[in-house]
């Protein structure tokens, strides 16, 4: 039904356009002049006003989008470095919004204010070095600040300082799923390579490496809250990208090499579920799901693939759980080690 409706609308639009075109043609024949090609003051006036209307409409739509969907900040973060990134985000966004709100009205405002009129002559001005210096200098100063702030944040995120040794976990990617391998009690991952993949040993872990015996392989990623985690990424086939938006973490998984990212989760799944922003989002989404007759959804952290990797790229995900240390320890005790698995 909706298909039909859209086809009808499209046909009507095309018909309306053809009619409009014919009206233009006929009217220009009647006038028998070049009024349909030559822009005159009436056009300048109409189009100038439209420019003014546009900027009002544009800003109105901008405000409506912010109100309807979300403000210009990122969703609540759940990692320690996440809040640093978010402050940088907010300041950058403030600069962007100010620049946007200043320049666009100038552009469209001038287009309206100086719309052509044959009784007026434009003012001849070629250049003004002071002005040029002014608008080279202002962005330069603002950017210097943004660059310094950005680089400091980047360096803090990439080189975190921790008192304790971070817990090492390998995230293993292949078309189209994720697996986690915990380094176990020695906190050392056993050597692994795709060439060693055999039978149940789907990650190609070397059974001869002593460090691999107590590794734990899991189909979900569980993390203790407040404990630094060093994620090491490996891929079996093509490039994938481990994207953990709630933790402000993203790193590509590249076949033939290993990449890493260290962070500290700061909110458990349970805590996040009680965050007002999340509560509201879940309510909104479950309203929509109820309309469609789908099961209600409960918030969970999630790991997504964010580098095009093939036909099921859109569904390459893994559940992530952050819990208190004791719950994590309890869960870990129940897991089979690599040695037991073999």
């Amino acid at each position: 039904m909706e298909t039909l409706l859209i086809i009808v609308i499209a046909l009507l639009a095309i018909a309306a356009l053809t009619q409009a075109v014919r009206i233009f043609e006929i009217s220009s024949q009647i006038k028998n002049s070049d009024s349909d090609v030559k822009v005159d003051d009436r056009d300048n006036n109409t189009q100038g006003w439209l420019m003014l209307l546009f900027i009002i409409f544009f800003f109105g739509a901008f405000a409506w989008q912010i109100a309807a969907y979300m403000d210009l900040t990122l969703p609540q973060s759940a990692s320690e470095h996440g809040s640093d990134i978010d402050s940088l985000w907010d300041i950058s966004m403030a600069v962007i919004v100010v620049a946007f709100l200043v320049t666009q009205p100038l552009l469209f405002g001038f287009a309206f204010r100086f719309r052509g009129n044959k009784n007026r002559k434009a003012t001849y001005m070629e250049h003004n070095n002071k002005l040029e210096l002014f608008w080279t200098g202002i962005p330069a100063v603002i950017l210097a600040g943004l660059i310094l702030y950005g680089l400091t944040t980047w360096s803090n995120v990439m080189n975190p300082v921790n008192e304790e040794e971070p817990m090492v976990i390998e995230l293993y990617a292949k078309q189209f799923g994720w697996q986690a391998r915990y380094a176990g009690s020695d906190n050392q991952l056993g050597y692994a390579n795709v060439r060693l993949i055999e039978g149940v040993n789907t990650l190609g872990v070397d059974p001869g490496d002593k460090a691999s015996a107590n590794d734990v392989i899991s189909n979900e990623l569980r993390l203790p809250k407040g404990r630094a985690v060093l994620l090491k990424f490996r891929s079996q086939d093509v490039i994938h990208s481990a994207y953990l938006p709630h933790f402000r973490v993203q790193m590509n998984c590249v076949p033939g090499t290993q990449t890493q990212f260290q962070f500290t989760p700061s909110m458990t799944t349970t805590e996040m579920r009680q965050d007002p922003e999340v509560v509201e989002k879940v309510k909104r989404i479950n309203g929509l799901r109820a309309e469609r007759g789908e099961d209600p959804w409960e918030f969970d952290y999630v790991l997504l693939c964010n580098k095009i990797c093939g036909s099921a790229h859109y569904n390459m995900q893994m559940k992530v759980v952050v819990e208190e240390q004791e719950d994590f320890d309890k869960w870990m005790k129940e897991q089979q080690t690599f040695a037991e698995m073999l």
């Binding site: 233009f24 300048n44 989008q65 360096s155 390579n193 079996q236 033939g256 964010n306």
Partner: protein, 586 residues
């Protein structure tokens, strides 16, 4: 037309294997438009999928055959559509269609030359482009489907047919097509550089060049320096795919098969690709900025504000564009120190960009704006250049890029700053130089309708994408329904798709206006926009050699609009300086 011709021309030498830059420009434009129709149509197909993933569309089955069984789009063909859409729009429409058309048309006409330095090489450039376009279109019909690894064709995905069907014959044709395309670009660019440096008419010093020519000149240099690197990247990929080398492949098990490749690095490809890929953004954007400078100055009846600053900022942007490619690779595991360097250089680009934006705005100030469709699109370009450029401050900042990398935030950003700006530049150029291309005029009212619907629809499509990206929605997802956390974004996707359909339909107005006017439009006068530049001193009817007699000499810069003391509000470049002017400088 024939009466003026210097020597006898057959149909073949005039319309097919022409060495006349004006005809070659038209060939580039028409081919680019055909490719543009294909590219935009593809985007409408995948917008259907994104907005209504559960719906069955009979049209999909009709168009896609086995890839659209029962009107449901196959995930592989979705990826193929986004891949080919990107490739076509970036290279075939906005590089060849934009730069190829206007560099060819305007370089000889605006610098006062009879033709390009080598008409023959120019002809070759077009025919390589033509062959490349044909092969790209043929690749849509191979059994395993067209290339589907994204327009950036990152290996190993693009190297392994086992990983995705599109990496079979489709990818081979893609690589062949792009190799021919690179040859075409290089032949064209070398010709542009040589022509601009050597064939300027008497009095046309570099500082008297219109900004269009400056933009084409710098663009050509960018192309010559960066396209060969893409060529080498493509060559190594061909070797990996067909001859068993391991430049990009190492330790891979795909579809249960262990590959013997060892020691290669997929990241090497990304460095090579983006060494072209980032300058490519400016290869697309600079000609559009050049066109809009010319169109805005002419129609504001005012000199472009800060000519030297405009030239300087073009050069600064071009230079910086070579040392920022790493900002596409912040999350590849690249050394964080390199990330810092690329953040620094990337954010610097905002300075010359801001200079350009402010100079455009100041050019409008106290002008006498003639709202031609070309002018409207140029103003639209400045708007999208600012809006899209600003979000670059987020993406260029490595720390912020972590969370929005490869999300819809990026899609919104680059479509606005480079897609829309460049396409608006292309439209501005077509409306402005249509009288020069076809000797006829386009209908202004259809132009206005085309502008407003396109402009609003374009913002309607790409502006909301930033919100999707901030919510963490990755790009290149066949559907967002696998993640309940994105359920509340579904209505934004519907809104975007409606705008896309409206914007697509608006292009029919343009196509109608274009072809109708080219064949039956009102005859143009010699200088319809009362412009200063040299192309408007040539006869309306095209002749070989451009000027019937001597090539006119140039006595002034191109932007003497509304000059005090002058009778008219424009003083063409061929008018000698008066004594007063000599005394006053310039």
């Amino acid at each position: 037309m024939e009466a003026h011709a210097h020597h006898k021309e057959t149909f073949i030498t005039k319309y097919v294997f022409s060495t006349d830059h004006k005809m070659i420009a038209k060939q580039f434009l028409i081919t680019g438009m055909i490719m543009g129709i294909v590219g935009v149509a593809m985007s409408l197909l995948f917008r259907l999928q994104l907005a209504w993933p559960d719906k069955q569309w009979p049209i999909l089955e009709a168009l896609l055959g086995k890839w659209g069984t029962d009107g449901i789009m196959d995930p592989n063909i979705y990826l193929a559509l986004v891949t080919i859409h990107g490739t076509i729009m970036v290279f075939f429409v906005l590089t060849a269609g934009l730069s190829g058309t206007f560099s060819n048309l305007l370089i000889p006409l605006q610098i006062g030359a009879r033709d390009m330095a080598s008409g023959f090489i120019n002809m070759l450039s077009y025919w390589f482009f033509f062959a490349s376009s044909v092969i790209m279109l043929i690749s849509l019909f191979v059994e395993s489907g067209p290339a589907s690894a994204g327009w950036t064709i990152y290996p190993p995905l693009s190297a392994l047919p086992q990983a995705i069907p599109g990496s079979g014959a489709g990818m081979t044709l893609w690589l062949v097509s792009m190799s021919l395309f690179i040859v075409s670009s290089l032949l064209g660019a070398l010709n542009y550089i040589v022509t601009i440096l050597n064939l300027r008419t008497k009095g046309m010093s570099m500082t008297r060049l219109p900004l269009t020519i400056w933009a084409f000149f710098v663009t050509a240099i960018l192309g010559v320096l960066s396209f060969p690197v893409l060529f080498s990247a493509a060559l190594l990929l061909i070797f990996d795919r067909s001859f068993g080398t391991s430049f990009y492949l190492s330790d891979i098990m795909v579809a249960g098969e262990l590959l013997q490749n060892q020691g290669g690095s997929p990241i090497l490809f990304q460095h090579l690709f983006w060494f072209l890929g980032h300058p490519e953004v400016y290869i697309i954007l600079l000609p559009a900025l050049g066109i809009s400078s010319e169109v805005i100055s002419t129609n504001a009846r005012k000199p472009i504000f800060g000519y030297r600053a405009m030239v300087g900022s073009i050069m600064a942007i071009a230079f910086l564009s070579f040392i920022v490619w790493g900002h596409h690779m912040f999350v590849t595991g690249m050394n964080p120190f390199l990330g810092s360097v690329f953040t620094f250089t990337t954010l610097l680009i905002a300075i010359p960009s801001a200079v350009k934006a402010f100079n455009y705005i100041t050019t409008l100030w106290k002008g006498n704006l003639q709202m031609t469709p070309g002018m409207m699109f140029s103003i639209g370009l400045v708007s999208t250049f600012i809006t899209g450029g600003l979000t670059g401050l987020i993406l260029g900042d490595s720390a912020l890029d972590i969370n929005v990398h490869d999300t819809y935030f990026v899609v919104g950003h680059f479509h606005i700053v480079m897609g829309l700006s460049a396409i608006f530049g292309l439209f501005a150029g077509v409306y402005h130089w249509f009288p020069k291309l076809f000797g006829r005029r386009m209908n202004k009212n259809l132009g206005f309708i085309h502008f407003w619907v396109t402009f609003i629809a374009a913002y309607g499509v790409f502006f909301p994408m930033h919100f999707l990206g901030m919510a963490g929605l990755p790009r290149r997802y066949y559907t967002n329904t696998a993640f309940p956390m994105f359920d509340d974004l579904a209505d934004i996707n519907v809104l975007i798709s409606y705008f896309a359909i409206i914007g697509g339909i608006a292009q029919l107005v343009f196509l109608y206006n274009f072809f109708y006017s080219a064949l039956r439009g009102k005859k143009a006068e010699q200088n319809p926009w009362r412009s200063n530049t040299l192309e408007w001193t040539t006869p309306v009817e095209h002749i070989h050699g451009n000027w019937p007699g001597e090539i006119p000499a140039v006595h002034r810069w191109p932007y003497d609009y509304s000059k005090p003391g002058a009778e008219e509000d424009f003083v063409p470049q061929i008018v000698p300086m008066s004594d007063d002017e000599m005394a006053g400088g310039h």
